[in-house]
Structures are given as structure tokens and as C-alpha cells.
Symmetry: C2
Subunit: 352 residues, 2 copies
């Protein structure tokens, strides 16, 4: 089927662009000596997770236990879950995963660590735990290299756990600051005989500057596989690299300057980006996706020479690809305008 | 099970609040002589659609064919789809629905009308079509009462269609302007012998001022069933009326002033509202949900006396309930802190 034959709104992924994005990222990792551990939150598809490993990734990253369960079921064997896993239900699920694949997790507090230490006691198969470090991102993480050392010591002292290293989700645009933080922590750990096996950095925005973070041994980019308007704004890629689009129909042209699409915030999500508007209309570079309601996009055509008509199908590059693929149940893969595969987004909706 | 026993993040709906919100809205409709036709986009649950009809609604409103199909399957018999339905696939699905339940739709252009007229030709069972009117909302709709009349004439002239009236999604806070527009259109139609059977107004924000729109015969509020921070901001209700919350776990307390929840933009959505922040933390009125990443909320506790600890479960009233219930697969109904029912959100993800 041709892309335009899909009913709308529909998620369309340009397969050659995905492949090019993966190859480029893997080549960079190889060049600078980083292991690539892609974050599957962006696509939530075992198909692409396997492709990432085939292209050279050392393993994958998931953000949810439910995602990790889907990926383990699909045969992915090395899964990093950089999250504080808390509560009996989740610890039981983590234990079940740990029995069948190579799992690793993070902790940034004694409370989280106590949970792991209480649940994992098998000294023959310890759970690898990394210390999450707040290197300026202002989210989770210990606040100083000294605290990282203290938590590492507690992990190393728990019989069923193994201290595996450090992890950070870095602030954007500050790789030198991230490196300074991590280098200090690594030095403290080295001096204490706790040399980290892995130092895991993350994020797509600064991926192609991640060689500045020399202390890192691996990187966890997610959005790089699809890219989006946000990433284009960060200078990570161009609109021509964006592999994910939402196919939509022009359902109304109430005025000469206004078009309405059948894709609103329940298809494009309300995430904003510096470029303004709610998406890029492919083929109509001067169109502005001015506002979204739940099932409508209002497009300002006032600066456009060519203008789409009622019934036309158009493609929208969203601001943030990761939240968009979380809204659809099916991803349609396209090559040269032809749909070659329609895949259920198996890890979508795995909230816990 | 107690609410706190749910794994997080989880969608929790306070059933008594839903019932109170429905009763209040139905009582208002009865008092001012409006028919209530609730929009199910907010909950996407046949269970609540049936409850709305039991409480006195004349029928329901859906925004997607897929939603209407789910509701028809569940036994809902009168469904309004205030949308331009375009393309052969969708027209076929509309025809299948029209054969088994009382369907009505809208049009705001000749193109949409041509599609209906070409597909619906049975004079014994004409498709009811309303003309969508842009009364200032700036979305879909004909631009003037004169255009509404012209389109109504074309509907009336199509053998397989029936002109059923006017529909608008109004601009917020301008009921008098909406009434002026609709009254002028109704007068033109009356004079032409095309008296509208229904004049359908919509939206929760101005629902309790909808008696100002005297030309309207029915109203399609959606969010009123759950309410949310946006509606509270519009003066529609109070935080104590909000029935939908997201149960989340505090997964990190990196600093004295910061808490991290396991609910980010994939659970709370990135929609903003005038109150600022990304949700209201129940029991912590001075906490600010300062930012969201996909699976984390960053909460600023600096103004809080009491502060939640790692592992605590908390409830968040989101900015926009409709997009939140679109992110979860299951709605947990609660009474007095006890989960009485967990319902699959059957119409979620019905994109087309």
C-alpha cells in the first residue's frame, strides 16, 4: 500500500532514514570508543531494538519495567533500566527479569538501595546497580561525587548486589560540566578500590558532543533513531533526517488562510519546542501548526504559496517523537512511499 | 484493594465525584431546558457513557469513528459525531454505523457534503447532517450565517441526507457572541423553511453559562465528568470536584526541596494551564509540579511544610483530564479509597 492509502491519523516511519540515523550514531560511537546502549522509549518496538543491537549496540535501555518485559520476551538479552525501582510488586518483576536476562538498574538513595538489598540476596547472581548522579540535570541523582562514593560503598557491601558504575542524564549543552563531575567521582571511586565498570551518559541532544565526556564508557540516546523538531532545533540533525511523521487529512479549509487536520494533541502531543508551533508540515515549509485541540490541528497557511485542499493527506513532523509514538498502537514502516510493514507498538502503554 | 495498593503510575477515578458532576450538569440542563449530549472523548468508557444516558442524557457525542464503533458495540444507540468524515474508508464505516444506531454528523464544506451525498442515497433512512458553524472558535465551521444557510440548502437537497441543524464549538467566555451568530443563522433558516431540529453547542468551560446561548437546543460538555486544573481555572468547578487523578510514587528526593515522581509526560501529558505547573499534588497544596520529562515529574517542595518521602504514593490532579485518560489502558474506579472496579479504556487509541 502507498503511504497515502493509510487511514488517518497514522504513524509513518521512514525505514531508510531510521537505518541512516542508526548507522551514523553507531559509527560515531565506534569512532570515539563509546558503547552504544540505545533507549527504546522512543520507538517501543522490539523490531527496532533488535536492529539497534544488530548495528552494534552493546545492549538496550528501557525506562519502565513493562518495557523491559516486552523487550526480554522478544529476545533482547542485555537491558539497562536507569530508574529507581521501588515497592514489592516492581521488585518482584525486576527479580523475574534478572533471572532470565542481563539486567542492570540504578539507585540514588539509601531507600532504593535497601529495597534492592532486601530482595536480591543471591551472591552467585548479584544484581548490577549503578549510582545515578545529578550532574546538573536537576532530576534524580546524588548531588555530589562524595555521595556517589558513599552509595557505591553501600552497594559493594550488599552481598546480592554488584556495584556496576555511574549513570547520569546530563543537562543539555554542558558536556564539560558533566565530565568534570563524573571525573571527580571516578577518581574518588578509583582511590577507594571501587573502579566503575560502566559510566553511562545519556540523551540525544548532545550525543555528537559526547566525546567531551571522556569518563563515560557508554551512551543512551533515544530520540536519535527518529529525530524530531526538537532535535533539529538542538542541531542534532535536519528535517530531512526525521523518520517519524503523522499522516493526517485536511478535514476543513474554513478560510483561505486556515486548514484543519484530523490530528490534534491526541496524535501529535502538546509538547512544545523552540521552533514554535506544533509540527512541521512536509511540503509546506511556510505553514504553521498554530494550535491543537484534542482531535484537530489548526494550520495557518497565510504565508504559503501552495495550499492543501480538503481531503488532501499531509505529513507532520512532530515536535517530540517519543511521546507521539506512545499515542499510537501501530507503526507503519515505509520505503519509497510504500508501506512495507505495520508493527504493533508492543511496549506502548506499559506504564509501570 | 485500597487505592494505595495499585502499582504506579495508575489512573484513579473517584466514582462519587463523577456521579456528583453528572448529576449537577444534568440538573442544570433540565433547569434551562437543554438536552445534554455528553462528549465521551474525556473518559472513552462505555461504562460512563451508559451512566450519562441513565442520568438523563439525550445521547452521546464522539469525536472519532473508532470511538463511535466502541460505543455502538456497547449498546449506546444515539451517537453524534461532530466531525467532517472524509474518504472512502471512513464513509464506509460511517454507513455501517448508520445502519445500526442513530448517527448524526457535521459538514462545513461542499467537499465533505459531496462525500456524504455520494455514499448515502437511501431516502428511507437519510443520514442526519448538521452544519458546523465557526462562531469565533477559529477551528472548523462555515464563516457566516449566510454560508450556513447555503450549506443547509445543499443538505436538504440531497436525497440521502437530512438537514438536522447547526453545531458549534464555541470560543471560551463569549456566550453572547455565540448566541448572536446562531440566532442570525436560525432566523435565516426559518425564513427559508429550513428550521433546524437541533442547535448543538459544546464545551465544559462555559457550560454553566450556556443558557445565554438561547438558540441552542443541546450541549456537548466533555471534561465536566472528571474536571481538571484547566476547568478549575475556568471557574467551572473546584479541586474537590476533580474525579481523575494519577497515582504516582515518589522515586527520589535528591534534595530537601525536590521530589521526583514516576509519572511524566507519558502519564500526565504536557498540556499547560493558566495555574502553571503540570498538576496539583493532592495533600501538598504548596508543591509545584515544575517540569516533566517522559517518565519523571520534578516537584518543587520549597514552599511545603510537610514533604513526601521516597516510596510514598501521591495523587496528582492533571492539567487536562481528557488527554490523560487517553494515555492509560485501564481506569480504576474508587469509592472511599477502595478500588471497586478496574475498567479497560475501550475507546482509547481509536485514532481514525
Amino acid at each position: 500500500m502507498r503511504v497515502e492509502g493509510l487511514d488517518t491519523p497514522a504513524l509513518v516511519i521512514e525505514l531508510p532514514r531510521v537505518q541512516a540515523n542508526l548507522k551514523r550514531a553507531q559509527a560515531f560511537a565506534d569512532k570515539v570508543g563509546l558503547e552504544l546502549r540505545p533507549h527504546i522509549k522512543t520507538h517501543k518496538l522490539p523490531f527496532f531494538a533488535k536492529m539497534q543491537v544488530e548495528y552494534g549496540a552493546a545492549g538496550i535501555t528501557c525506562q519502565k519495567l513493562g518495557e523491559a518485559e516486552v523487550m526480554a520476551d522478544a529476545g533482547l538479552a542485555d537491558i539497562f533500566l536507569p530508574y529507581n525501582i521501588l515497592g514489592r510488586d516492581k521488585l518482584d518483576r525486576l527479580a523475574a527479569l534478572h533471572r532470565r536476562v542481563a539486567m542492570s538498574v540504578t539507585a540514588d538513595s539509601g531507600e532504593t538501595l535497601d529495597g534492592y538489598a532486601g530482595r536480591f540476596t543471591d551472591t552467585a547472581r548479584p544484581l548490577p546497580v549503578l549510582v545515578e548522579c545529578d550532574t546538573g540535570g536537576g532530576r534524580c541523582g546524588v548531588q555530589s561525587p562524595r555521595e556517589a562514593l558513599e552509595l557505591a560503598r553501600r552497594i559493594a557491601g550488599a552481598p546480592g548486589l554488584r556495584f556496576d558504575g555511574l549513570m547520569t542524564y546530563p543537562p543539555r549543552g554542558k558536556p564539560a560540566q558533566v565530565e568534570a563531575w563524573l571525573a571527580e567521582a571516578v577518581a574518588l571511586l578509583d582511590a577507594d578500590g571501587l573502579t566503575p565498570g560502566r559510566v553511562s551518559n545519556g540523551g540525544s541532544p548532545d550525543y555528537y558532543r559526547s566525546d567531551v565526556v571522556r569518563s563515560a564508557t557508554e551512551h543512551r540516546p533515544g530520540t536519535y533513531i527518529y529525530s524530531d523538531r526538537m532535535q533539529v532545533g538542538y542541531g542534532h540533525s535536519t528535517l530531512e533526517d526525521c523518520a517519524l511523521t503523522v499522516l493526517a487529512t485536511v478535514v476543513s479549509r474554513p478560510t483561505a488562510d486556515r486548514a484543519i487536520l484530523d490530528a490534534g494533541s491526541k496524535a501529535l502531543a502538546a509538547d512544545r519546542c523552540d521552533a514554535g508551533g506544533h509540527g512541521h508540515l512536509v511540503g509546506y515549509p511556510d505553514a504553521v501548526v498554530a494550535s491543537l485541540s484534542e482531535e484537530h490541528a489548526v494550520v495557518d497557511l497565510s504565508r504559503c504559496a501552495a495550499r492543501p485542499r480538503v481531503g488532501d493527506k499531509v505529513r507532520v513532523v512532530p515536535n517530540h517523537a517519543c511521546v507521539v509514538s506512545n499515542l499510537f498502537d501501530v507503526a507503519n514502516l515505509a520505503v519509497d512511499g510504500e508501506i512495507v510493514e505495520s508493527l504493533p507498538i508492543l511496549a506502548r502503554g506499559r506504564m509501570g
